[in-house]
Symmetry: C2
Subunit: 336 residues, 2 copies
C-alpha cells in the first residue's frame, strides 16, 4: 500500500550531497555563495529525493511569507471579479494571496485574525465595514489597504474609485443626450451610497437641473420598489446606485409596459457580469475591477517592501455604453 511518507528535509539532501544543511539552503534559495559544481550536485540530490522546502519552517525563520491577505464578502458577485484580478497581479509581483471571506456569522474581525495567523504580511479589505479606529488598530501591526472605501484614517491605505467623477460622467452623459429630468435611485445604507447621492445632487445643480432622489438599496428587490415609485411621475432618465438595482428598476418598468430606452433611459453602476448579458445590455459606469485590484495589490506590496507612508489612490471610472440609454427625444416618438 501507499505509505504516508515523511517528506525529505534539508538534512536529508545535505547528507545525500555530502555538504552542510546551510549550503543546501543557499542553493535551494538561489542565494549567492556556492560554487557552480556543488550547486549542481545539490540540485541533483534534491531532485532525486523529491525535496520541497517546508514553507512552515521557512516562514517561521525568515518572517517573510510573501503572503497578501485579501478579505471579501461571499455574497457580493462584484468582489469575485476583484479576487480574480488580485491573484493575477499578486503573482506578477511574486506574492501569493490568502483569502478570507466575510460570511453570515463571520464578521470582518474574524476574517482578519485568520489571515494574520497564517502569516499575511499585508491586508487588503474590500469595502471594509470596520470603524476607522479598528482599522487603525490593525494597521499598527501590518499594512492595511482599504479597497472601495476611502474614509479610513491616516494609517490605512485606500484604493478607491472616484464616486464623484463616476456620477459626473453619468449626469454629463444623460444631459448630453438631452435629458433634463434625471432621477437617482440611491443605495440606502450601502458603502458609497452617500457619496454618489451627494455627487448626483451637486452635478444636477451644476447643469441647472432639479435633482430627484428615490430611496433604494444595493439589490434587485429594492431597485424594483424604487422603480414603482418612479412611475408615479416618470422622469426621462434614471441613474441607479448599481447594476443590480438597475435590473430591478428595469424589471418594474417592463411589468408596467414602459420601454427602455424609448420611454426612459437607465444607467447602472459597476459594469458587472449581468450588465453585459446580451438581453440586458445595460449601459453602466465601470469602476474597472481589475485595475482597482491591481492598484490595491501594488499598494500593499509597496508598503511591505518599501517604507513609503500610507496614502490614497483614486481611479477615475468610465462609461460603458450599451443599449439602455438613448436620446431624450426618443420617448416622444415611442409614446406617439
Amino acid at each position: 500500500m501507499t505509505e504516508l511518507q515523511r517528506r525529505p528535509t534539508l538534512m536529508d539532501v545535505a547528507k545525500a550531497a555530502g555538504v552542510s544543511r546551510a549550503l543546501v539552503s543557499i542553493v535551494m534559495r538561489g542565494a549567492p555563495g556556492a560554487a557552480e559544481s556543488t550547486r549542481q550536485k545539490v540540485l541533483e540530490a534534491a531532485r532525486e529525493l523529491g525535496y520541497r522546502a517546508d514553507s512552515r519552517a521557512r516562514l517561521l525563520r525568515s518572517s517573510r511569507t510573501k503572503l497578501l491577505g485579501l478579505i471579501f464578502s461571499s455574497s457580493q458577485p462584484f468582489h469575485a471579479e476583484i479576487v480574480d484580478a488580485a491573484y493575477a497581479e499578486a503573482s506578477a509581483r511574486g506574492y501569493e494571496i490568502a483569502l478570507s471571506a466575510v460570511a453570515t456569522g463571520r464578521p470582518e474581525a474574524r476574517a482578519i485574525e485568520t489571515l494574520l495567523d497564517v502569516g499575511a504580511e499585508a491586508l487588503i479589505i474590500i469595502a471594509p465595514t470596520l470603524s476607522t479606529e479598528d482599522l487603525a488598530l490593525h494597521a499598527r501591526r501590518v499594512p492595511v489597504v482599504s479597497l472601495l472605501r476611502d474614509d479610513v484614517g491616516d494609517l490605512v491605505d485606500s484604493v478607491s474609485s472616484d464616486d464623484y467623477a463616476g456620477i459626473r460622467i453619468a449626469v454629463d452623459h444623460l444631459a448630453s443626450l438631452g435629458h433634463r429630468r434625471i432621477a437617482h435611485v440611491d443605495g440606502g445604507t450601502a458603502v458609497s451610497s452617500d457619496q454618489r447621492r451627494e455627487a448626483y445632487r451637486t452635478e444636477m445643480l451644476r447643469h441647472g437641473l432639479e435633482p430627484v432622489v428615490v430611496a433604494g438599496g444595493p439589490d434587485e428587490e429594492t431597485g424594483m420598489r424604487a422603480g414603482q415609485v418612479l412611475q408615479a411621475d416618470l422622469p426621462t432618465a434614471v441613474i441607479a446606485f448599481n447594476d443590480r438595482s438597475a435590473l430591478g428598476i428595469m424589471e418594474s418598468f417592463r411589468a408596467a409596459g414602459i420601454s427602455i430606452p424609448a420611454d426612459i433611459s437607465v444607467l447602472g453602476y459597476d459594469d458587472s457580469h449581468f450588465a453585459r448579458l446580451s438581453y440586458v445590455q445595460l449601459s453602466s459606469i465601470s469602476q474597472d475591477a481589475p485595475l482597482l485590484a491591481a492598484a490595491a495589490v501594488d499598494r500593499a506590496v509597496d508598503r511591505i517592501e518599501g517604507t513609503l507612508p500610507p496614502g490614497r489612490v483614486v481611479r477615475t471610472p468610465h462609461l460603458v455604453l450599451r443599449k439602455t440609454t438613448g436620446h431624450a427625444g426618443a420617448q416622444k416618438v415611442g409614446q406617439n
Copy 2:
C-alpha cells in the same frame, strides 16, 4: 509615529503571567494539567496582550493547524453559498477555513499548493476538474473531499447531490401536472451535465414519454439560444440544466411573447439566489448548498481526526415550488 509592533509570543504571555512558556501553551490549547486559578490568570494575560498562537510555529512542531482548505471558483455564484455554509460548520467543529480560488490563469493545482503551504490538514474542492489520478496523488498526502462531483476514485472522499434523483423529481413533478411534452436543455460540457441528461432520458422513458434534449450550457447566453431553438416546436414544459440557463430560456420566451407558466412551464436547477427574486420566482431543484457544505466539512474533519476510510456521501435534492411551473392544461386556457 506608531511603530510596527512585534506580535506577542508565548514567552511574552509567560512573563506577564509569571509562569513558564510550557504552561501557557497548555492553557492556550485547553490541554489538561493546569490549575483553574492559573488558567484564568494566563488567559487574562493573553487577552491583555492580544496574543494569538502563530500557526506556522504551531504547525512546525505539532502538525496540527486545525485548518481546512477550501477550493472554489471565483466565477461561480453558487460556490459562494457553499463557502458561506462551510465557514459555519467548520467553526462549529473547531476548525478554521483557508480559502483558495480557481481564477483565470490560476489552475486548481496552484490553488492546492497554496493551501498545503499554509498548512491545511484536509482539502475540500468544489467541483474539481483535475483527473482522478491527480486527485489521488494529493490524497496520499492529505484527506481530499470532492464536493459536487463523485467519480473521483477510491482515495478521495466525495459529497455530492444525487443528480439522478433531482431529475427524477423534476420529471415526476411536471408529469404530475399533466405535462407530456417535456424538453431538457442540457449543460454542455459542465460538470454533472452528462448525468442529468441521461437521468432525464431514462426518466422520460419510464413515464412513457419521448425525451427531447436541446444543447445548452451553464449560463444565460447558452440558455437563451436553446430557448430560441425550443420555439420551433414548443413543448409544454422544459427542465433547464441550471437556474442561469433557465433565466436565458425564459428571456427568449419573453422576447417571443410566450408566457410562463401559461404557455410553458420552466424548471431550474440549483435554487440559486436569483431564482428567489420576486420578479423571477423560478421553480427549481435545490441541492441545498448549506447541507452539502456541512457534509463536506464533517467528512473532512472525520477523516482528519478518525481513521475512517474515504467514502461517498450522496444527498437527495428537493423541489422548491415557485411560479414558473403550472398545470399542463393551463396553456390552453392561456391561449384561448
